[in-house]
């Protein structure tokens, strides 16, 4: 078995989800190669070479890959990938964008968002917003897979010493151009890898009130998330949405504030170790999954929570 893992990165640093994906590759078993495609991404390649279990790092450093444009990246991955039995990448928005193109170019199926490796050709994945788990077996010669990072332990970031090989393969489809990026800047941990997440919903009433959650987040070293309703209402940006069609999180502690607990929201956070719900409606479905539920008005409970945390932290 030979596995190609496509690194998720921003040309500066290797995203931690890549280490979880290498973790999934290890469970499949076989030789693991990591591909870093980007521009000015030598640092990322070095980081990938240190990851545990990696035997080789391929670097494609070219302007065509600077912004991870799917049209270009997929041509590259489809060309290199045909020599592997498995092609894996994290199920983030970059992987979800380019990998199905790779599968189509190779004329194979893609298995999206796997949460378990049963064997080299059989995997488990959630369907219907996580209300069912399907075990699927692939009959294709190349298995093209996106990996749900929270479902796999990461390999160690240090300790490996893989060889780094430069590729001079510039694939520019010439059909798309990057125009601009408006990225959220935050000093808080990344939502999908934070060990504590505090999320607000429609009950927060406006974006200003999210400051209350941010204060708590800063005390706990937590990330701040949101429900779709809070994003749709314009309280907070889209990259904070947790759920079936947003981000999947599985922290040690998830605190849901003013969130009712629709199945689409639960799909994104029910893998959390401990769930806390603060909601004024004691019938809210979120309480059915909460380890600790507090029936209260959030505008009272959240400031009080801040004070109580000060006492114990």
């Amino acid at each position: 078995m030979s596995i190609l893992v496509i690194a998720d990165h921003d040309n500066q640093s290797l995203k931690p989800s890549t280490l979880n994906t290498i973790g999934a590759a290890k469970q499949i078993g076989g030789d693991i190669t990591v591909l870093v495609a980007g521009q000015g991404c030598a640092g990322v390649a070095e980081a990938a070479a240190k990851a545990e279990g990696v035997s080789k790092v391929l670097v494609a450093d070219d302007a065509a890959y600077a912004n991870q444009l799917a049209e270009n990246l997929s041509l590259l991955v489809a060309e290199i990938g045909k020599d592997y039995t498995h092609i894996l990448t994290p199920a983030g928005t970059t992987g979800k964008d380019f990998l199905p193109r790779v599968a189509a170019l190779l004329d194979v199926a893609q298995i999206s968002d796997i949460i378990k490796v049963e064997s080299a050709d059989t995997f488990q994945r959630p369907i219907y917003a996580g209300n069912a788990l399907a075990t699927v077996k692939s009959s294709d010669s190349i298995k093209v897979i996106t990996v749900r990072p929270t479902a796999f332990d990461p390999v160690a970031a240090e300790g490996g010493s893989a060889a780094v090989e430069a590729l001079s393969l510039a694939k520019d489809a010439g059909t798309s151009q990057f125009v601009k990026a408006e990225m959220a800047k935050s000093d808080r941990p990344e939502l999908t890898s934070a060990s504590i997440v505090i999320s607000g919903g429609r009950g927060m009433q406006n974006g200003e009130n999210f400051k209350m959650l941010e204060k708590i987040a800063d005390k706990l070293g937590a990330a701040v998330g949101a429900s779709r309703a809070a994003v749709d209402a314009g309280f907070v940006p889209n990259d904070m949405q947790v759920g079936q069609t947003g981000k999947i999180v599985a922290p040690q502690l998830y605190i849901a504030v003013g969130i009712s607990g629709a199945i689409q929201h639960l799909a994104g956070m029910s893998g959390s170790k401990v769930i806390v719900a603060i909601n004024k409606d004691e019938e809210a479905p979120i309480f059915q999954v909460a380890d600790y539920g507090l029936v209260a008005d959030l505008f009272q409970a959240v400031p009080e929570l801040e004070q109580e945390l000060d006492k114990v932290l």
Binding site: D10, A70, E71, G92, T94, K96, P100, R101, A103, A104, V108, A109, Q110, S112, I127, Y128, A129, G130, N131, A132, L133, A134, T135, V136, K137, S138, S139, A173, T175, S176, Q177, F178, V179, K180, A181, E182, A184, L220, V231, N238, D239, T245, L253, I263, Q264, V274, I275, V276, F287, Q288, V289, D291, Y292, G293, A301, L305, E308, L309, V312, L313
Partner: protein, 249 residues
């Protein structure tokens, strides 16, 4: 320009699905079906392009059983001009769906193809990207804004870190995210009018596409259920539990 929209018939998003006791799938008997919510957003976007005078014709296509006509009629009631049903009772996986849609693209030659980012049954998030690759078209996935300008379309995309805008040469494929628009409701007169709009039926065999599944579902299980925990009486008790019982802070 002509716009093609792909709509999928799926379980209504409000329905709580149940896994069949024999673990072969989920129970869809007597369950309410509807248009995939992301496809509704795709139809709405196409209709708005028509209202702006950018699109000249909006064609909707669905792959599925005869009953998928209902979803095509809904799209026609929302303002699409004409429908195509690729009728089949077989399981159509994303790669096969993309190949069928490619056959329609070859015939219809649209300038823009709009799909949902994800079908809420399979949660695959693949078909649009696969279609784009098969056609050699660029793609703007997870779109929250679509602006057609001459021979290009600018698409603002919802990505993990924020928003990214790309410029795509037409023809192109766009997949919709939740913030792209808020779909309208069909009015009664429009529902009546939709009944008279053309709806053509074809089959995978007519289109010459091999739709054999590549993935076999061995088992479908219900996920482990979380048990509801306890209600705490105060914030102080909550903090005490988190610190001393759960030990997560």
């Amino acid at each position: 320009m002509k716009v093609l929209v792909a709509v999928k018939r799926v379980i209504d998003y409000n329905v709580k699905v149940r896994v069949k006791p024999d673990n072969t799938g989920v129970d869809l008997t007597n369950v309410k079906m509807a248009m995939n919510p992301f496809c509704e957003i795709a139809v709405e976007e196409a209709v708005r392009l028509k209202e702006k005078g950018i699109a000249t014709e909006v064609v909707v296509v669905s792959i599925g059983p005869q009953a998928a006509q209902e979803q095509i009629r809904t799209a026609l009631a929302l303002g699409a001009d004409r429908g195509i049903l690729i009728q089949t009772d077989e399981e159509i996986q994303s790669l096969a769906a993309a190949k069928l849609l490619k056959a329609v693209v070859d015939k219809e030659q649209p300038k823009l193809v709009i799909l949902g980012k994800q079908a809420i049954d399979s949660d695959n998030n693949q078909t649009g990207q696969m279609l784009a690759a098969l056609c050699g078209y660029p793609q703007g996935t997870f779109a929250s804004e679509v602006v057609v300008e001459g021979e290009k379309v600018n698409v603002t995309r919802e990505v993990d870190g924020g928003l990214v805008t790309v410029a795509l040469n037409l023809p192109a494929v766009v997949t919709t995210d939740l913030r792209l628009n808020e779909p309208r409701y069909a009015s009664l007169p429009n529902i009546m009018k939709a009944k008279k709009k053309p709806l053509e039926t074809t089959t995978p065999a007519d289109l010459g596409v091999d739709v054999a599944p590549r993935l076999t579902t061995l088992k479908v299980e219900a996920p482990a259920q979380r048990k509801a925990g306890i209600k705490v009486a105060s914030v102080a008790e909550l903090v005490d539990k988190l610190k001393n019982e759960a030990k997560v802070i």
